[in-house]
Amino acid sequence: MPSKSPEAMRSLIDREPPACHSSCRAIEPGDDAPDFTVTSADGIPRRLGDFRGSPVVLAFHGAYWDPARAEYVETYNRLVASLGGVAGARLLEIGGAGPWRDLTFDDAALSLPVLSAADADVARRYGIGDEPAVFVIDAEGVVRWSQVGAMSLANPVAIARAISAVAAPFVDAPNDEAAPRLAWTRRDFVATTLAAAFALALRPVEARADQVAVLAPRPALRAQRVTLSVNGRELALDLEPRVTLLDALREYAGLTGTKKGCDHGQCGACTVHIDGRRELSCMTFAVMQEGHRITTIEGLASGDRLHPMQQAFITHDGFQCGYCTSGQIMSAVAVLDESWGPGDDDVREAMSGNICRCGAYPGIVAAVQEVRRAQASNGGGQTR
């Protein structure tokens, strides 16, 4: 990573801010972070460039920031706390006031400038308008992670992961010379638990091989042969025990019809049938499902002939974007084998574990009711 000359730095600082607001291209990961100067409460002007050698988190809190509003203060406090906690360093002191917060760790320091809407000039340099935004800048002054345009500050855990990714030597560089200069050199950052999250945080900048160390492959130490019965076929997969049934279906078996929505059992997008009952594939490990009969949306139709519930969803416009639809349909098919009453309210209650953000609920209820009535007039035959 070539360092910038003082002349180049000065030209960055002195450059006129672009005369535009959010229509400007926002600074993105991989871009050099535009320099700027702000004056902290102690009256000392400080440049972003002064913090080369340390990672910096830049938080624009936007026009809606009101320090009296508890949730913003809470978000900010959580951000500060998580930068100490998740990154693995012990937070000893939070000092400073005003726009800059200096975090002191037991072996490193970190500055966290929080800029208000009054710093519109700085915001323009970063190509953002009134909205909250967060940038994580590495020790070399390159933006490595950003979130722009959300209604609130970014999730502090995500920020902490991003800063860990730029600061912590959890990666094995090809050789020492190619490795980026790291402000923190704690070997004990290496934490299996966070490796997957780090990989995710790194992905957008992986292509910059000159700046980003290569992520060490994570050996699947405990992978074991797991045989799953899916849609009538036996699938032999090598899986770690911690692989959920959902991930096994999508990432290992290539059955991507089952969707990952929340991954925490709150949305129903991952619904499959296990031994004929609707269950959430994100809330069970694949290894726990050996010996059980799994049906996914791919197994519902008979060849080219759609399952009646699939056809009914089409007939009644039971979806818009379609992301929740496979879970809705799997749930709906199983609901008709449960003990619910015949009313629309019964259908709504029975289907309440499947969330549709497009709000296609009227069509979904109509689809379920059509299939239920057809079944009833056919003598209550099974739908599967």
């Binding site: 809470e74 299996t192 911690r242 925490h264 129903g268 269950e279 449960e338 209650e349 309440s352």
Partner: protein
């Protein structure tokens, strides 16, 4: 999620043996444990899958009659199967209703009775490892007391924890005076009154039950109880379905004419553990079943409430919930 060793136990003895190792969790439905493992709140190094135990011993997943008129719910019985059981719906409607108003159809197909009563709080700070939490990390502090505490408890709190016990079933079970059957490494069952299963947070919010490491719930016994047939679970939440209670009431009542002979009152969504209100029961028994009586009972039930900044509404809501539940059940 950290990596872990997975063992599938084939019988109770093997499960108890494996479960006695440190940092080991039993997993059955998995709907709470796996969620918390993804959040790194739970970090077991060993998981013992107990789903197959019912094969060796079907009673572990069954609903059976008890001598004297009660029912035994096997710990591995799924929420759905207990909820729709005709005996439960007739003799213990409050139990059936508490299950059907909990979680979603998918989750009820997975989650077990034993796991359900042991579910952890949904306090957002407990679930977020970036924030201090005495329950998750003893001594680190409570983020909820001065934080956003709309969903936290108003009864049974301490200066170390105000996290709400989130479940519904347990509220019905504590109202009915159920008994928990527990087995440990010794292999012998012990019977624990349901009211003794959960403990108040006090100075040790990380301790939630009296279960010892490696112990397993094998069954929950419902007593024969006249009032149970006339029982009701009323749950109030932010949306009509698929949400945790802001306030709930489990009530059972035995009327002679319009006079209350026996009454059971449980409260959910407002307390740090499943809550039975002896004060409310005392205010009901022997009194006429009138709105005035119900209001007095509700006042008694919430007399000890200690609200925080955002959750004072729960005191009012819980009283109204209880009054409405008592009105409906005695109508």
């Amino acid at each position: 999620m950290i990596d872990f060793e997975y063992v599938r136990a084939s019988d109770v003895d093997a499960a108890l043996h494996a479960g006695a190792a440190p940092s080991t969790r039993f997993v059955a439905g998995g709907t709470n444990l796996i969620d918390l493992m993804k959040l790194n709140v739970e970090r077991p190094t060993h998981l013992v899958d107990i789903n197959d135990l019912g094969r060796r011993d079907p009673s572990l997943a069954a609903i059976a009659e008890l001598p004297g008129g009660g029912l035994r719910l096997g710990a591995l019985a799924r929420m759905r199967d207990v909820a729709w059981d005709a005996r439960l719906r007739e003799r213990y409607p409050v139990v059936s209703q508490s299950l059907l108003l909990a979680a979603s159809g998918q989750l009820r197909n997975m989650a077990t009775i034993g796991g359900n009563v042991l579910q952890r709080t949904r306090c957002p700070y407990f679930r977020d490892t970036a924030t201090p939490c005495n329950k998750r990390e003893p001594g680190s502090g409570c983020s909820a007391i001065a934080g956003i505490n709309r969903t936290e408890a108003v009864l049974g709190t301490s200066e170390h924890c105000i996290a709400t016990y989130p479940g519904d079933l347990a509220v019905a079970l504590i109202a009915l005076g159920a008994t928990v059957r527990v087995r440990g490494a010794s292999g012998a069952d012990r019977a624990v009154p349901f009211a003794s299963l959960h403990v108040l947070p006090g100075a040790h919010p990380e301790r939630e039950t009296i279960l010892r490491p490696g112990e397993m719930i094998t069954a929950i016994d419902l007593p024969a109880l006249a009032a149970a047939r006339r029982s009701l679970y009323l749950k109030v939440r932010d949306r009509a379905s698929y949400a945790f209670a802001l306030a709930s009431a489990a009530v059972a009542i035995d009327l002679r004419g319009r006079t209350i002979r026996d009454a059971r009152v449980g409260l959910g969504g407002v307390a740090t553990k499943p809550w039975r209100s002896a004060e409310a029961e005392r205010a009901l028994i022997g009194k006429p079943a009138t709105e005035q009586t119900f209001r007095a009972a509700a006042e008694a039930a919430l007399a000890g409430a200690r609200p925080h900044r955002d959750n004072a509404f729960k005191v009012v809501l819980a009283k109204r919930t209880l009054v409405r539940a008592l009105t409906e059940v005695s109508a």
